[in-house]
């Protein structure tokens, strides 16, 4: 461990804005990317379900 205190750690020797700006935005970008990919997967599944449902509906119409 190289830090003497918690505030020492967050101060980053005066470079806090630059260091935390880099780590923070990188972490945020990754969180957004993961949520975005999850959303896209859910959307794909929902799309397939709608198509499948539509298919069964039209089949029922014809057979009626």
């Amino acid at each position: 461990m190289i830090w003497n205190s918690v505030s020492d750690f967050f101060a980053m020797g005066g470079y806090a804005v630059y260091v935390w700006g880099s780590f923070g935005v990188t972490a945020a970008a990754m969180v957004v990317e993961v949520l975005w990919a999850k959303h896209a997967h859910k959307k794909a599944i929902a799309h397939l379900q709608t198509e499948a449902a539509a298919k069964t509906l039209t089949h029922n119409d014809w057979s009626a």
Binding site: Y15, Y18, V19, A37, L48, A53
Partner: protein
């Protein structure tokens, strides 16, 4: 044996479940290495004698910059396979990689600006390294825009594939730019011919973070390609028969 396996998993139907089993492994690996790398980089690695604590940006800047180039080369590889062997999956892999690549290129420029300001006194200069990395970001965005603009997926893959291949010429330009031109950007700290000029803990932390980002990129691509496969193959029987997709018997028989 190997060829047989490759042909087997080149079919979206077989690759879909494989990718589903693999992405969590890569995600776990990426998380574990990120924790280790961040611990080393933020708590163990010593202060730099020239740049103080500001140098710690290296632990994100170098990995995302490397990944921005590696992902582009991976896209060019899949594009080449797609254009020559006409394998359907390669176009999907290409598209699954692009968003992560674009994010890495953006982060490379962002963290670079935040590093440049305190060390060089400027957020940005139009020098070879920075400009060629900016072009890389535009290539990613161009690829995404182009493939999204073409409705027919096979034609979109082809057009995007050509862009990915031609754009790959930019990658060696980025890599060697610090050698070929006078630039504000420092030379490589790690070189294949000279080894490393860095302190050992710093180097370990950086390499661990680089592998973490690599695994993260693979996990994201595998995760994303599954959604692409589902949409592209939505009329295939195996997709409509998937447990989460097919209507329940009670609904269907009504």
């Amino acid at each position: 044996m190997v060829t047989k396996l490759i042909y087997h998993y080149a079919s979206p139907q077989h690759f879909y479940p494989l990718a589903g089993r693999l992405w969590p492994l890569f995600a776990i690996g990426a998380s574990a290495l990120a924790v280790w790398g961040l611990w080393l980089g933020l708590f163990v690695a010593p202060t730099d004698f020239q740049q103080g604590e500001g140098y710690r940006i290296i632990f994100v800047h170098v990995p995302v910059s490397w990944m921005s180039m590696i992902i582009y080369l991976a896209m060019a590889f899949w594009a080449l396979i797609g254009l020559t062997l006409n394998a359907r999956l390669s176009g999907m892999m290409c598209r699954a990689l692009a968003p992560t690549g674009a994010i890495c290129a953006f982060l490379s420029l962002w963290t670079g600006a935040l590093w440049g300001k305190p060390m060089w006194g400027t957020w940005w200069v139009w020098d070879a390294r920075l400009t060629s990395e900016l072009i890389l970001l535009f290539l990613y965005l161009g690829y995404i825009a182009l493939t999204n603009a073409i409705d027919d997926p096979r034609r979109a893959d082809k057009a995007g594939g050509i862009l990915a291949l031609v754009g790959a010429l930019n990658v060696p330009v980025i890599y060697f730019s610090v050698k070929w031109w006078n630039t504000l950007h420092q030379g490589a700290s790690v070189s294949m011919s000279r080894g490393s000029s860095m302190e050992k803990t710093m180097l370990t932390a950086m390499l661990v973070m680089a592998v973490a980002f690599w695994l993260y990129a693979i996990a994201m691509a595998l995760y994303r390609v599954r959604s692409i496969i589902l949409i592209r193959e939505r009329h295939a029987k195996w997709v409509t028969a998937l447990p989460g997709v097919s209507p329940t018997p009670a609904e269907g028989s009504a």
